[in-house]
């Protein structure tokens, strides 16, 4: 399951969906709103998404993770809207028979979500200024679109 939500992410209820007698490992990742970025104090963040395409691309990433690693279950939820320092912005949960695949898949999902899913982040600074952040870790968009 991959979801874009506008309400706070409830970890316990997500985690309960992963419970499985086949699983010997559960790896989760929490992405939190941090109070600084590139040397600037950050006061708050706005996340914006293109939900239709974000959910499609997110599901594609989860399917890729299932192909690459031996998993039981995999879930990712990303929040949008106005968030404060310390808020949970993204949650990934993976279960597998063994820990190796669970760790690797969790890392794969968060890295790919950050690089590919149409979600944007605007930082609001202590100075009163604000800025849309480009966290894309890959080359220019033209290179990516050649693969389409």
């Amino acid at each position: 399951m991959f979801k874009i939500v506008s309400k706070p992410i409830e970890i316990e209820s997500l985690k309960s969906t992963l419970e499985d007698a086949q699983a010997g490992a559960c790896v989760t990742f929490e992405g939190w709103v941090r109070n600084h970025n590139e040397g600037k104090p950050v006061q708050a963040l706005d996340y914006e998404a293109y939900p239709e395409l974000a959910e499609k691309e997110g599901l594609k990433i989860l399917a890729e993770a299932r192909e690459r690693f031996a998993l039981e279950a995999i879930v990712c939820v990303h929040r949008m809207g106005a968030l404060q320092i310390g808020d949970l912005a993204v949650w990934v949960g993976v279960t597998a028979a063994h820990r190796g695949g669970a760790f690797d898949a969790c890392r794969y999902v968060i890295d790919e979500v950050k690089a590919r899913v149409p979600i944007w982040k605007k930082e609001h600074y202590a100075s009163g200024a604000s800025e849309w952040i480009n966290c894309a870790t890959r080359g220019v968009a033209a290179e990516v679109s050649k693969k389409v």
């Binding site: 992405g31 996340y47 914006e48 998404a49 293109y50 239709e52 395409l53 499609k56 691309e57 990303h78 912005a89 993204v90 968060i110 979500v113 950050k114 690089a115 590919r116 899913v117 149409p118 979600i119 944007w120 982040k121 605007k122 849309w132 952040i133 480009n134 966290c135 894309a136 220019v140 968009a141 033209a142 990516v144 679109s145 050649k146 389409v148």
Partner: protein
Amino acid sequence: MKLQIQYFALLREQRGLSDETLETTAATPTELYEELSSKYLFTLPADRVRAAVNGEFVAANAALKSGDKVVFIPPVAGG
């Protein structure tokens, strides 16, 4: 032809609205982006923006057709 455009994030702010319908002769997403960019002074160059048509990523030189819903995707920053 008539196209529907939806804007997000930086492009939404620079355009000053979230969506519009417009008449254009642009044949591809790149041509359309260049047209909009010169009109609304977008700061992102065309090669930093991906295109989606009708809810799917497409190549920058894909053919546009009347009624398409086009979205330009600025560099993403989830997580």
